[in-house]
């Protein structure tokens, strides 16, 4: 019996440490952690193990391997190399028709890609509009977040349980940006995670959307917008603080939520 309670404790402690507990269980676990010296010691030991494992050298992909794989793939198509066949001789004869057709296709592709680029530009600016609208809605509501907590171990699991993709939630209090909570905004038809920070009396909303959707830095309805990307997300920060403060916010956030660069600095 004791063994099975212990076992369950271990699982719960590991799930908490991995940010995989749902918020009520996480809060309950935190309460127990505060009361139970033995549990606390075991949890700290788990954290020091994590630090040790994450400080291991990161093996880097040898540059030549990628090239080797690409050339291996090039030869991995039986039937597509060598052998100038009858088909290719026929093809040569109809070269001028091909050129004509190619020119037509080329023209069509160019014009459609220009239009797509314009569309994309429009839709990105639309994204910025919607995100600023989410920020304003947050400011008008009794509180600008759905989950209030200054503990990133509470906010992160809450996102995880509400969204398919959830960002890291660093606490940037040391840089003057205090974590106050998180909320779900809707961009287009998709729910996205927004982390809410306070900077003095100002609210900073940091919305995360799928990567490669950066919007230009701009001012919408009096709010400054700044965006940047890493491989997991595009981040869009909205606030009424000056643009240069948003820049330092970006730096603090990027430094505190490493994706691959410094895996050991997190715990």
């Amino acid at each position: 019996m004791i063994a099975s309670i212990k076992e369950n404790d271990e699982l719960q402690m590991n799930a908490y440490c991995d940010g995989e507990l749902d918020p009520p269980s996480a809060v309950e676990f935190e309460r127990r952690l505060a009361d139970d010296e033995s549990l606390k010691a075991r949890y700290n030991r788990l954290l020091s193990l994590r630090r040790a494992v994450r400080s291991l050298p990161q093996y880097e992909l040898p540059p030549c391997l990628k090239a080797r794989i690409k050339s291996a793939l090039d030869t991995d198509r039986p039937g597509q190399v060598g052998r100038p066949s009858q088909v290719s001789r026929l093809r040569q004869r109809s070269w001028s028709f091909q050129a004509l057709a190619a020119a037509a296709v080329f023209g069509a592709v160019i014009s459609s890609s220009v239009m797509m680029t314009m569309d994309r530009y429009d839709s990105r600016e639309e994204v910025a509009q919607q995100i600023v609208a989410g920020h304003i809605r947050g400011l008008l509501a009794p509180q600008p977040f759905d989950i209030a907590s200054s503990d990133r171990h509470t906010v992160k699991p809450w996102f995880t349980s509400h969204l398919p993709e959830s960002p890291q939630v660093p606490d940037l209090a040391a840089h003057g940006f205090v974590l106050v909570g998180g909320r779900v905004d809707v961009v287009g038809h998709d729910p996205v995670a927004t982390i809410v920070y306070k900077h003095a009396k100002h609210t900073v909303s940091l919305t995360t959307v799928p990567p490669r959707q950066s919007v230009s830095d701009q001012t919408i309805a009096g709010y400054n917008v700044r965006s940047w990307s890493d491989i997991e997300f595009t981040y869009i920060a909205v606030s009424d603080i000056p643009p240069e403060d948003l820049v330092s916010f970006e730096h603090a956030f990027s430094a505190a939520s490493p994706v691959w660069r410094t895996l050991d600095s997190r715990d």
């Binding site: 004791i2 063994a3 099975s4 212990k6 076992e7 369950n8 271990e10 699982l11 719960q12 402690m13 590991n14 799930a15 991995d18 995989e20 507990l21 749902d22 269980s25 010296e37 033995s38 606390k40 010691a41 075991r42 700290n44 030991r45 788990l46 020091s48 193990l49 994590r50 040790a52 494992v53 994450r54 400080s55 291991l56 050298p57 990161q58 093996y59 880097e60 992909l61 040898p62 391997l65 990628k66 080797r68 794989i69 291996a72 793939l73 991995d76 759905d146 989950i147 995880t160 349980s161 509400h162 969204l163 398919p164 779900v184 809707v186 998709d190 729910p191 491989i231 691959w260 895996l263």
Partner: protein
């Protein structure tokens, strides 16, 4: 807290949370159903594309991670290169079967499976697979051990300070099924759902292996002092 449930999160996240709770509260036995990511019907997106372009989009971005995983599973750089290259070929040939759900998990699954078949072929005795053990032995390995049945006193739980070399040795010494979940979690930083998908075991097993693997590491590192 307002109910922010959206159709998307019902599909993916909430059922996942329920499952985790069931595992934790003991309502669900560990060996039961695979995790709910299977509920997402695979949508073939690659069929209209050039296979090479699909490969570049799906597998290539995860190559650095693939290499890291292969290195931890095989234990050295040369083997890792061979494994990644073979996995890349397998991925390329099988790109049509990619279901557009999770390119990262799909790619790492191939790398993981390639690494194991490579090890079986090239180094027959170096590995202990859980599949080789009897159910009783497997049970014992995953749940019992030096710290398994006893509650330690706070004084016994010393914080250890392991340097990178110690940690590397200890991790390399772990049996494969524990090492892989720890590498996937700590080095590749995947969530439980993806780890379950890649290692092809239920979520409860991922949790117990992580927990057990970490206890083993702690014991190994403790012994070195």
């Amino acid at each position: 807290m307002p109910n922010m449930t959206t159709p998307l999160s019902v599909n993916r996240s909430n059922s996942w949370g329920t499952e985790l709770n069931e595992v934790l509260s003991g309502k669900r036995s560990e060996g039961s159903d695979r995790l709910s990511s299977q509920q997402q019907a695979p949508v073939p997106i690659v069929q209209h594309k050039n296979e090479r372009a699909a490969f570049d989009e799906v597998f290539l971005p995860h190559m650095a991670e693939a290499y890291r995983l292969a290195q931890w599973l095989t234990g050295n750089a040369c083997d890792a290169e061979d494994v990644v290259q073979e996995a890349a070929l397998r991925a390329f040939r099988g790109i049509k079967s990619f279901g557009a759900v999770n390119a990262r998990a799909w790619s790492l699954t191939i790398v993981r499976n390639t690494a194991y078949s490579w090890l079986v072929k090239n180094r027959s005795k170096a590995m202990v697979f859980t599949e080789d053990l009897s159910p009783a032995e497997q049970q014992e390995l995953e749940h019992e051990g030096p710290h398994g049945t006893r509650i330690e006193t706070p004084e016994e739980i010393a914080l250890f300070k392991a340097d990178a070399e110690d940690a590397e040795h200890a991790l390399a010494k772990l049996p494969a099924q524990f090492r892989e979940v720890i590498v996937l979690r700590e080095i590749n930083q995947l969530n439980y759902r993806d780890i379950a998908e890649i290692t092809n075991v239920p979520i409860g097993t991922v949790m117990s292996r992580l927990s057990r693997g970490r206890q083993l590491l702690i014991a190994l590192l403790g012994d070195r002092r």
